[in-house]
């Protein structure tokens, strides 16, 4: 039985708002970490296995939530390691704060499928389940990558590649000095190098703050509700919300002038974004200019086109087709609204509903859920954001360590260690190993070989 000192944590219940949520912590330090943040009747370290403790989860002296801690001692736990499951009140903010606090105490965000993997490695799962576990890792990585891809759109991708570019440039300059000191090329001085690192550090800091701020908004399945003015977008939007009683975490669009709501259907959290109306299909051409609507659509998994069926079932078809062409990565559905005002004999083949009477709203919801299922949004979606923010923060820390090293005149071979850490972390953000050919950047920019 192996218990890794490396302790991991993650939300074990689906993300989004629910009555309760469970955060799982597994590894050799699970109980010790809990005791740093849990004020209960008994120390977690002292509790017997399979006991549930009740108390407060506190962070830096502030009580965050009243929680239960279920104690599972190795090997009698899901992973076979020491496991603590923290039951708390649902909601993105609470769970996030709890996880942040655990990470602060030395836990680390679990990678996709990691709990299951540990369970397997500790013989908690039999061999016939190997295939299934492998599929989980594969699937979660895929969803993770898709989520990442979505988050990374809307300017984020450009920013990240700028970070990579800058980092490569700095490392290239440093390695040039280390491996090619005998060459007849111009080496950058420390002042120049320092200002490059400083500026990269600032950029990464800004980016990390940005991710953190946006993560609630960006998590879950995104649906952009679009259509011509008066097609009934807002009515449909409200109808979907009203029906699904569980209106949650209404993030007010104070910073953005569109409405944004999260609904839970069958346990899936779906973000609906009500966009400003598109006056006519020509607007699409100017879409670059309507950057807000453009960025909403860019970041959406699904574009829901609302058509005022009373003006004709094909009234918004050209808009729909253009959106299909512009956002081929997204799913698209066409909904005929105001169907109560239509009296044609032949029913159309698209979804139809009336936001006013409530007819067909359930069909629309079912269609949404089917698409979400097909998409494969899984628990972990929210955490991935948090993980990325943390990785960005770690990159910034490594850069700061590099700066401190420069200030105390450390030699370049040491500075390179911090920068290499940045490379590894950058790779982790996108979920793949990033193995840049540092020498390539050297050879392409400098004339090597006297």
């Amino acid at each position: 039985m192996s218990t890794s000192a490396d302790t991991i944590c993650a939300l074990a219940t689906p993300p989004g708002v629910a009555g309760l949520a469970v955060i799982r912590l597994s590894g050799g330090r699970a109980f010790e970490i809990c005791d740093h943040v849990f004020e209960g009747s008994q120390k977690v370290c002292a509790a017997h296995s399979h006991k549930i403790l009740y108390g407060w989860f506190t962070c830096r002296g502030v009580r965050i939530d009243s929680v239960t801690v279920s104690v599972y001692r190795a090997p009698s736990s899901y992973t076979g390691e020491d496991v603590a499951e923290i039951g708390c009140h649902g909601g993105v903010f609470v769970t996030e704060q709890i996880i942040d606090a655990l990470v602060e105490q030395g836990a680390r965000y679990a990678t996709p499928g990691e709990f299951t993997k540990r369970a397997f490695l500790n013989h908690k799962l039999d061999l016939t389940q190997v295939e299934a576990v492998a599929d989980i890792i594969h699937a979660e990585t895929r969803v993770g990558a898709q989520t990442a891809a979505r988050q990374l759109s809307g300017g984020f991708t450009t920013k990240m590649s700028a970070v990579r570019e800058q980092l490569l440039q700095i490392i290239g300059l440093l390695e040039l000095e280390l491996d090619f000191s005998e060459e007849d090329v111009e080496f950058v001085d420390r002042t120049g190098l320092r200002s490059l690192v400083q500026s990269l550090c600032d950029d990464v800091d800004r980016l990390a703050a940005h991710v953190k701020q946006d993560q609630v908004l960006r998590s879950g399945y995104h649906v952009a509700v679009v259509g011509f003015p008066n097609a009934g977008k807002s009515s449909l939007f409200n109808a979907l919300l009203d029906r699904s009683r569980a209106i949650v975490s209404a993030v007010a669009g104070t910073t953005r002038d569109y409405l944004h709501e999260t609904i839970i259907i069958d346990g899936y959290s779906i973000h609906l974004v009500d966009t400003a109306g598109l006056r006519d299909s020509n607007d699409l051409i100017e879409l670059e200019g309507i950057s807000l609507t453009a960025s909403v659509m860019q970041e959406s998994n699904l574009i829901l086109v609302v058509n005022d069926a009373s003006l004709g079932r094909d009234h918004s078809k050209s808009l729909f087709n253009q959106l299909l062409a512009v956002y081929p990565e997204s799913k698209h559905i066409y909904v005929d609204n105001k169907i109560d005002l239509v009296h044609d004999v032949e029913p159309g083949d698209s979804l139809e509903c009336s936001a006013n009477t409530g007819a067909g709203i359930d069909d629309v919801k079912r269609a949404l859920v089917d698409l979400v299922r097909e998409h494969g949004v899984a628990p972990g979606d929210v955490l991935l954001n948090a993980r990325q923010a943390m990785l960005l923060q770690n990159i910034a820390n490594s850069l700061r360590s590099c700066l401190a090293g420069m200030d105390s005149q450390l030699s370049s071979d040491l500075l390179a260690v911090d920068l290499r850490t940045c490379i590894r972390l950058l790779g982790e953000i996108s979920g793949e190993t990033w193995n840049p050919d540092v020498l390539e950047t050297v050879f392409s920019r400098f004339c090597i070989g006297k």
Binding site: L121, H138, E175, E182, L414, T433
Partner: protein, 615 residues
Amino acid sequence: MYDVLVIGGGHAGIEASMASARMGMRVGLLTMDPSTIGRLSCNPSIGGSAKGHLAKEIDALGGVMGRIADASGIQYKMLNTSKGPAVWSPRSQNDKDLYPLFAQHFITTQPNITVIREQATGVIISHDCVKGIQTSSNTEILARAVVLCGGTFLNGVMWTGETATRGGRVGEAAANGISDVLRSYGLETGRLKTGTPPRIHRASVDYTKTQPHNGDERPVPFSITTPYVRNQLACFATSTSAETHDILRDGFSRSPMFTGRIQGAGPRYCPSIEDKIDRFAERDSHVVVLEPEGLSTDTVYVNGFSTSLPFDIQDAGLRSIPGLSKAEVLRYGYAVEYDFFYPYQLKHTLETKAVKNLFFAGQINGTSGYEEAASQGLVAGINASLAVREEGTFTLQRSESYIGVMIDDLVNKNTDEPYRIFTSLAEYRLLLRIDTVYTRLSGYGRAFGLIDNETWRVIERKENVKRTLSSDITSLKITPQAINEYLVSLGEEPLTESTTVTNLTRRPKVKLEGVLRYATEIFTTVCEEHEDVVHAIETELKYEGYITKLHRDIERFKDQEQMSIPVGFEYNRVKSLSTEGRQKLQKIQPASLGQASRIPGVSASDVSILALYMR
């Protein structure tokens, strides 16, 4: 019948033969001409950035390159001394006539080695196992293991201008046939290119127009067995001009590089002068260093002027360089194009995956450089001997040596240019310093019988001095009165109370040697006799935080490195692997999960998935 048959007497072949013979094997060393054993085909120099590390590692393992280099050395320089101890790297200029003589001396005085003057034309294979080789005189030489060190000789073609000559080195024939035999056995070959600059007569140089480059004031030998070396000759630097570039550009239309007649890829880190002019058109000058090729020879190596341009262009170009207006060319520069075997077809032992007991070492694996070749020869020689004795394998980790880094890179990454070692290729660069080389590797060399008793005593003595001194200075306290004068002179904060020498040495500007000299007379001899040890200890103290971090990383990846993948594992069975990952894994067939994780195209999640199947 030989135990180990080594084909080729270059730097790889020498180490392979020596190691095998010292391991008690009956060794046959096949060469077309015994007088060419150990020839320095290109520059008259050993070591350099990262290559110096390889040369030191060879010495620590009990190889001979460092000893030969010291015996024939005429100038020594420690590179990068201002860049941090991890990248300190020794380099020597060598007498190109003496180097092969000493190499041949080692070979001929070593018991168990028979030098065979023959040309190999084929490899005899039976039941996927090597049995020996065929020669041009139609004889068969049988052996239990074969180490192929063919250098640039396999289907070698030399180019100058529009002239192509078959051959592996100027005046020497190419080896044809071997590639075909092995290709028919399913091994994949490619073409690579490398080049060498012209050699000129030393008396034709006007040295007043050049700047001398001298060796270090206190030259340091490569080998721990060499007590003393000295500098005997200087190098001289000059540079090309815009005029030179114009002259050379005029010849581009007759260059095999630009007319597309050379197909093989050349090294980016050692481009020809025509490449440099072409790719960095904005520069109107490139440095050229004139390196004497020896004490008794007239030839001077024109470093930085590697070229395959026609003779008349080479002449005119050289004569436009300050100091070379009367240059007399003794041998023109040329490019050589040759077959290599894609090294993914090798195990980490350098044995081919396809043919048992057949090993490849050196340029044949797509590397360039004497040191790269020699290190592979050493590893292949040891493993060939182990294979004959059926005693397991010898592989070096990335975390313990540059040799390990190089071989791991070779077998995992598909080279499309000649591979050269660089310090930046080592993720644990900080640990792979030249001052740790004997600690890291000599145990292996001793265990295999490559290090004789006398050398072992020298190594042990150094290690003992290091251990004792390290522990002494941890308890040795020093008073403010004794040291403050020194601290103030460095601009460091003076002490207010006594502290240990260890603590003081951790301060950035403080030198251990300085502290020891101020602290007590006792250590004066140590400082003088074991300057290297004092420096090593100081480095370890100053780097402590970083070194600990790297050791933690090694620990973290250890499980992964040690988790082996069964031979012939069916990756196609694992549906969840990414398509690219599966293809790469199937092709390279990594031996461990750690290796799998370094194959380009294999993602982190692929590795996680594989881990499940390795239980």
